[in-house]
Symmetry: C2
């Protein structure tokens, strides 16, 4: 009964369930390409702990790392969140009618772009 494709959703939601990881992503959203140690600096945990969080984010497909010399730059990949957002969108009708507004907007833009 459990669908195989849900594995990506599992990893995405699981990755987002930790406040440190959400903070890391939020940081990269504002300033992409930060190094591991720059990312780690604000947090009261050890560097290996941050490494593990980055590993989780990488495994969820939310992050890539590129090495240049001895420093490693981290880059956000937001796409997996789209699926998570799509899953949540189903429930939007329970708290707002904004779904219709969003769809109308998207429809209008789609037609506009031809």
């Amino acid at each position: 009964m459990v669908k195989f494709q849900d594995a990506q959703l599992d990893r995405t939601f699981s990755a987002l369930a930790d406040p440190t990881r959400r903070a890391l992503l939020a940081r990269l959203e504002r300033e992409d390409g930060l190094s591991v140690s720059e990312l780690a600096k604000p947090f009261p945990v050890s560097l290996p702990a941050i490494m593990k969080h980055l590993d989780v984010l990488s495994d969820a497909g939310l992050l890539t790392r590129t090495k240049a010399g001895r420093t490693v730059s981290c880059h956000l990949i937001a796409e997996p969140m789209e699926e998570a957002m799509g899953w949540l969108a189903r429930y939007q009708r329970f708290w707002t009618e904004r779904l219709d507004a969003l769809e109308a907007l998207l429809e209008a833009r789609r037609k506009g772009e031809g």
Copy 2:
């Protein structure tokens, strides 16, 4: 640096990270007020296992249970997902260029297939 209010977001994303729990919520989205045993029926796990999932969902504020006689009805509470959706919305700009894809996704969700 870690905000206290994030605890709710932790619980919400954590609750959504399990495919069984997502399936339980999806079931209630289509048919609210199902009993515990009705909810449990489709799953290949024991009733106590489902009970634990329901506990997690309750703790995350995504579910309430009302007892009538010896049967317990489960009711979806979607509101906590609004905060999760709000968190994700920040990243929307990274994929909203692909309007057709998002639109299709929303449309599919709205029509209510798996």
